[in-house]
């Protein structure tokens, strides 16, 4: 591993901190309090940025690919296979592969993160579109829907539950993988974790940054569940009659 951590602004100093910090206690609230503003909060914001950009680009790309794979069935297997292949490359190896081309940059990180979202998003979109009931499609055709109207009014909304399910998985996994971005750029919640690992495994920092990543994933997932409920009310219905 030849990647070097870029110099960061805050390195916990065991000599100057509280007793908890000097003894590297399990969780030092005073450290968290002191370094929320200069370390944790910026890392969290960067992490959110990295993840949102990756998910947004991944979603748009996967959607474009899904349109192609859905319309031209022959192209679905090669697209799926390519997404499969990208997904199997270990993240550290992918960063390493990209650095000679794109350097130690945000671009490198985003390319890697995006490529991990593609498989899940693409597969769910295709499955969702294919699962649209044939009788609904025949009714649409027989009622005089154009091809575009059929897609936007029938196929896409009916594929939405599957698409959102894919988006949830992609979001949680992107937030998790984004911690590894700190190998390439001094960004995100992975950054404080790496620094703590170098500083005699400073536990408070590892737990707080790791905990924030977990919390972020849970919150994002929760928000998507709410979106799912609002956008697909028909999926939660039991027959009342």
């Amino acid at each position: 591993m030849s990647l070097v951590l870029a110099g960061g602004p805050v390195i916990p100093n065991f000599g100057q901190g509280s007793a908890c910090e000097t003894q590297n206690g399990w969780f030092c609230t005073d450290w968290v309090h002191e370094h929320w503003g200069d370390t944790l909060q910026p890392a969290l914001v960067q992490h959110i940025e990295l993840s949102i950009i990756a998910i947004a680009i991944g979603f748009v790309l996967a959607f474009a690919l899904a349109l192609v794979g859905f319309r031209y069935r022959l192209l679905d297997p090669p697209i799926g296979l390519a997404a499969d292949f990208l997904y199997t490359i270990p993240s550290l190896a992918l960063f390493q592969l990209l650095v000679p081309f794109t350097g130690l940059t945000r671009t490198t990180v985003e390319i890697a993160l995006v490529s991990y979202t593609l498989l899940i998003l693409y597969r769910n979109m295709i499955e969702g579109l294919r699962a649209v009931p044939p009788d609904a499609l025949e009714a649409a055709r027989g009622s005089g829907f154009t091809r575009a109207q059929t897609f936007f009014r029938v196929e896409l909304p009916l594929a939405l539950p599957a698409i959102l399910a894919g988006l949830r998985i992609a979001t949680v996994s992107t937030i998790s993988i984004a911690t590894v971005a700190a190998f390439v750029i001094p960004n995100g919640l992975g950054r404080p974790i790496f620094i703590a690992l170098e500083q005699n495994v400073f536990k408070t920092e590892i737990f707080t940054a790791g905990g924030l990543a977990v919390a972020l994933a849970l919150v994002a997932d929760g928000l998507l569940v709410l979106a799912q409920r609002a956008l697909t009310p028909w999926t939660r219905l039991e027959r009342q009659a």
Partner: protein, 313 residues
């Protein structure tokens, strides 16, 4: 949006699928007068559904023509043509992600009707198909099979199309609900008077709902096209006779009411309403082991009589 009812003409309509030796529909020529129900009936492989789908061009003609109010379907824009034709299928095909109201409003929305217009119209149509207004906000998953088909019917007539195509609309519904839906469909048709092409494999359903019946045999050949009474009383050939069944004489009795018969002078006997069918009257005689029926009018007064012999004459 359309309106009224249209005359439908099949003119030597033929469908030949590539790679098949037999034609699916062979040289079919028949005219459905505006406002009438034409039932396409026959064994499987008779091309009933193919013939139906030729009309809204879900299947394209190989040769011949189909005209709606004189205009060939081939000369019309495909999307416009279909919007002007109500379409009901056995699996109903309601859109699961839309409420009943949105489902009913499907075609009016394609015509650019406002939300408010659709809202009002969906209440009208729910009432017409015998469902409460509270159904408007439900989703298809919350409906029974019979209710779904009622909504399917409401959706098909929402834009007031002059022509309706119904492909085994009650085929997947249990017999009791099916009979009720047939009755309500006929009552509905009495109000809206659309031209209807109705596909079924059930000859009893054909006799009940059809103003005219077209019997198709294998290879999509028209065996007979006539009124139910004429088909039961004068089947064109052995195939038709066999298809309508051994009990065709009995079925024919169900097509006539006592009001159509010459009644004898009022006499006492088992009471039966003038509006009853000859078949029901006969059943009553058998059940009561009677020889004489006293026919009553709507107010229950005896207005005439019938003996068993007169009934069967």
């Amino acid at each position: 949006m359309p309106g009224q009812a249209a005359e439908l003409v099949f003119d030597a309509a033929t469908k030949q699928y590539a790679g098949r030796s037999e034609q699916a529909v062979h040289d079919l020529s028949l005219t459905v007068p505006a406002g009438e129900i034409c039932v396409l009936v026959g064994p499987s492989g008779g091309g009933k559904t193919t013939a139906l789908k030729l009309v809204n061009r879900l299947i394209e003609l190989t040769s011949g023509d189909i005209r709606i109010d004189g205009t060939s379907i081939k000369e019309q824009n495909l999307v416009q043509l279909r919007r002007g034709i109500g379409y009901v299928i056995q699996q109903v095909g309601l859109f699961p992600h839309m409420t009943v109201e949105a489902n009913i409003g499907t075609v009016p929305r394609l015509y650019g009707r406002s939300r408010k217009w659709i809202h009002t119209r969906s209440f009208e149509l729910l009432e017409l198909v015998g469902l409460d207004q509270s159904y408007a906000k439900r989703y298809p998953a919350q409906l029974s099979g019979g209710e779904r088909q009622r909504v399917g019917l409401a959706r098909a007539i929402a834009a007031d199309p002059p022509l309706m195509l119904m492909d085994e609309p009650f085929g997947a519904i249990d017999p009791i609900v099916r009979a009720r839906l047939q009755d309500e469909f006929l009552r509905l048709q009495n109000e809206v008077r659309k031209t209807v092409v109705f596909v079924t494999h059930d000859i009893d359903e054909a006799i009940k709902v059809g103003d005219r019946i077209a019997i198709l045999r294998r290879g999509g050949r028209l065996a007979q096209y006539d009124t139910p009474a004429a088909i039961l009383e004068h089947p064109a050939d052995g195939f038709v006779a066999e298809f309508v069944g051994q009990d065709r004489a009995l079925k024919a009795l169900a097509l006539h009411t006592l009001a159509e018969l010459d009644l004898g002078p009022p006499r006492e006997g088992v009471h039966v309403a003038k509006s009853a069918t000859v078949r029901d009257a006969l059943a009553l005689l058998i059940e009561q082991r009677a020889d004489m029926l006293a026919v009553t009018d709507a107010d229950g007064r005896v207005v005439g009589s019938l003996t068993k012999d007169e009934l069967l004459a």
